[in-house]
Symmetry: C2
Subunit: 151 residues, 2 copies
DNA sequence: TCTGAATAGTGGTATATGCCACTAAATGAA
DNA sequence: TTCATTTAGTGGCATATACCACTATTCAGA
């Protein structure tokens, strides 16, 4: 119905991506709500967990996120005692990140809810289709769209 | 390469969607930068333009965006003189939105840049693949993931 | 060794987005 | 008509995310 009234919206790759991200974000956030974490936070805690005390720059690169944005996003998690940072002894420019014990407990709790959300999503959309979608999204993330420098 | 170090990231539908959205958002924003608009703003101006003086609620619904979020996003566009609002005479709860003449000029300018971004995206990714992706994203946006009420 | 360039983060500012509590307006039932 | 309910937006607050200017470190040459 809404699509009839929106001839052009569905043509923009970026707009469609953002729209789907809002939708899915609200859904995953809903399911994760009992843990007190947003889906973005659960995802970040998980990245930190599976990394080996990753440097901030490494996290930002793998998530294709601006380094300063990562810093901002980390703040509430540090404030709440879920993660802590420490300087790399071999290169003091580098700041590494790890979960605190409470952070690990919270992540465990959130992951249980994440599994619920993930499973229901794949039940509704279909496992194959979900997998193809993730592959397509990974593909996009890997491409280089930079403008060829005019020189 | 980054994927090797990230066994789990690529499994979460929501995380992958957000990651691709960050990547693509940065790209479209880059291309649109000369207009002074962000891709989100260009998309919103376009929605307003193709709507028939749409009500805020109608815009929010079609974009799957929270109504208050829409209100916030609209503010800089109103401040900069690109859009204006007015109460619906038949129902004064309803606030309708339209482009100003300057807004229309700005949208024209931004759409030219949008075409460049869109075309290059489809050159890199492939037109068919892009279309399938948009269809999949539209599909996700249309699904209902609500938890069945426990009753 | 000294110094200029490159690297890693921080802080400020601005937009993007969501939730909640609240107000105003319209509606429907008694 | 009157009042409880529903509908449409607003404003405050919090997180998400980006860019820019700036600082601290490291590194590569001269």
């Amino acid at each position: 119905m809404s699509k009839d009234a929106l001839p052009g919206l569905t043509l923009c790759n970026n707009a469609m991506l953002r729209r789907a991200a809002r939708k899915l974000g609200q859904y995953y956030d809903d399911v994760l709500a009992p843990s007190g974490l947003k889906a973005t936070q659960q995802g970040l805690l998980y990245q930190i967990h599976i990394g080996n005390e990753p440097a901030m720059g490494a996290i930002a690169a793998s998530m294709i996120m601006d380094l300063s944005a990562l810093g901002h996003t980390l703040k509430p998690l540090i404030r709440d005692g879920y993660v802590e940072t420490f300087a790399d002894p071999d290169d003091r420019r580098i700041k590494r990140v790890r979960l605190t014990p409470q952070g690990l407990v919270k992540l465990d709790e959130a992951m249980k809810l994440w599994h619920v959300a993930q499973r229901r999503f794949e039940d509704v959309v279909g496992r194959d289709k979900a997998e193809r979608l993730r592959a397509a999204l990974d593909d996009i993330a890997a491409h280089d769209f930079d403008l060829p420098p005019a020189s």
